[in-house]
């Protein structure tokens, strides 16, 4: 009689114990995992959607003509590409008829670049904001080019015009033109050939793409502005249109180093290299 009567309170105790120590923790864990699962599902959906959008942008990219792609790569190369820059300047000079006296390049003082370095160091210390990092990625690295040419005024003007629209995009910093006959006025009054010549000193910036090669797309999908722009609007048509308005010259095909190889490095040869046309 007694054990049967005690069964109910005993099961009540078991129920309370099982609820507190088994059911409730399992339920709490289930609830916690529910949030985690929801987060994962959202992440998966973002990735699926992102990949679909990148595929759309990729299709758009593949539809671009080779010339359009070449134009972008010429305008904003991954490396300095001094060889192509000098070759294109030489091509412009030979087409305009000016004589290039000097060409030199140096790293331009770029305030944005130094900001980028500061941001990069503070990112490591988790002090930087996301916006600073993304702005950094969007800034091209400028390289300053100083050069001087001599020719008649129409030739120099034509050369400047060709520089303005060449494949390697330039942003002029300064230029000066001086009549050559000023200096030689007294010496060469009889030499009529020199009278109309103009000496031009030109300073401009060309650009190199900010190094961003180590990017891992899957990790950048949430905070990278380039990736965000790809995910939302496909290829940056505004940039392409801007380039098309800046570059109106024919597509420049880089030089190749034909005729390399020389045993006697100090031997003088009379052969001249062909000019790039």
């Amino acid at each position: 009689m007694r054990p049967k009567l005690l069964f109910f309170p005993f099961t009540l105790i078991i129920f309370v114990w099982s609820f507190v120590s088994l059911t409730k923790p399992a339920w709490t864990e289930y609830q916690a995992d529910k949030g985690k699962l929801q987060k994962l599902i959202t992440e998966k959906q973002t990735l699926v959607k992102g990949i679909a959008n990148i595929k759309k942008a990729l299709a758009e990219f593949k539809q671009l003509s080779d010339d359009d792609k070449k134009m972008v790569y010429n305008a904003m190369p991954q490396v300095v590409n001094n060889d192509n820059l000098v070759a294109e300047i030489n091509k412009n000079a030979s087409q305009s008829g000016v004589m290039v006296i000097k060409v030199g390049t140096k790293k331009s003082t770029n305030k944005n670049a130094s900001k980028c370095k500061k941001n990069a160091s503070s990112v490591k210390n988790n002090k930087s904001t996301e916006a600073n990092v993304t702005n950094c990625a969007l800034t091209a690295v400028p390289i300053n080019v100083n050069m001087s040419v001599v020719g008649t005024y129409p030739m120099v003007k034509d050369f400047l015009n060709k520089l303005d629209v060449q494949n390697r995009v330039i942003v002029p910093q300064s230029f000066s033109l001086a009549s050559v006959n000023n200096k030689q006025d007294n010496k060469d009054k009889q030499t009529a050939d020199v009278i109309d010549l103009v000496n031009a000193k030109i300073s401009f910036d060309v650009f190199q793409k900010q190094q961003n090669s180590k990017i891992i797309l899957s990790k950048a999908i949430d905070n990278d502005s380039i990736l965000k722009s790809l995910l939302t609007g496909g290829l940056n048509q505004k940039g392409l249109q801007a380039l098309q308005s800046m570059v109106t010259s024919e597509i420049f095909y880089p030089v190749t180093a034909d005729g390399v190889g020389k045993e006697n490095l100090f031997e003088q040869t009379t052969e001249t290299t062909e000019t790039v046309q």
Partner: protein, 189 residues
């Protein structure tokens, strides 16, 4: 004697039947409570396990998607291309055409004047012009300043110097031209 025995039996049977019913009820409720406890735990554990399995599946799907995103060369190419386009879009904002400045100066310089030298400094698209010109006389200096004033950004031209040199008057002026976009018309095109 017989009565007494019957009574005792009656009492015994009455007591036994009432205790048995309570025991039965206690047993049934107890079993129901145990079933309920087991059911609740079983349900919670089943949901938890099913969800854990789902998490594993979704995680592996995410891993596969990330792998495909990171290893696809075409994706990296299109990202690189987009990066260049965005950086070019930024460059476009500071771009001017040098030849537009020369065209503007050509339009504003008197035919009788001869430029000896010209310096152009460009800052944020605004061009500062410094030039030396040879003009026939002081009246032409005034006309030339007036012509440059018409195109200068602030409507003023600084006359640094003017004086007679040989058979002409040499003048040195400085002024700024407003920002000229790359879409300005080119005369020499």
């Amino acid at each position: 004697m017989r009565k007494i025995n019957l009574k005792a039996k009656n009492i015994a049977s009455n007591t036994s039947s009432s205790g048995g019913a309570s025991g039965q009820i206690s047993l049934i409720i107890g079993i129901l409570i145990l079933i309920l406890a087991g059911g609740l735990y079983g349900g919670a554990a089943y949901l938890k396990n099913a969800q854990a399995k789902k998490i594993v599946v979704v995680k592996s799907e995410i891993k596969t998607l990330k792998k495909s995103l990171d290893t696809n060369k075409d994706f990296k190419n299109v990202y690189d291309f987009q990066d260049r386009l965005i950086q070019l879009d930024g460059v476009d904002k500071n771009k001017i055409k040098q030849v537009n400045i020369l065209n503007q100066l050509s339009q504003s310089t008197l035919a009788v004047d001869t430029m000896k030298n010209l310096k152009v400094a460009v800052n944020n698209g605004i061009s500062t012009i410094d030039t030396n010109l040879l003009t026939p006389d002081l009246m032409t200096v005034a006309k030339q300043i007036n012509a440059y004033k018409a195109v200068s950004s602030q409507g003023q031209v600084s006359l640094k110097s003017s004086g007679i040199k040989d058979d002409a008057t040499e003048m040195s002026v400085s002024f700024t031209l407003p920002r000229m976009g790359i879409k300005e018309t080119d005369q020499n095109k």
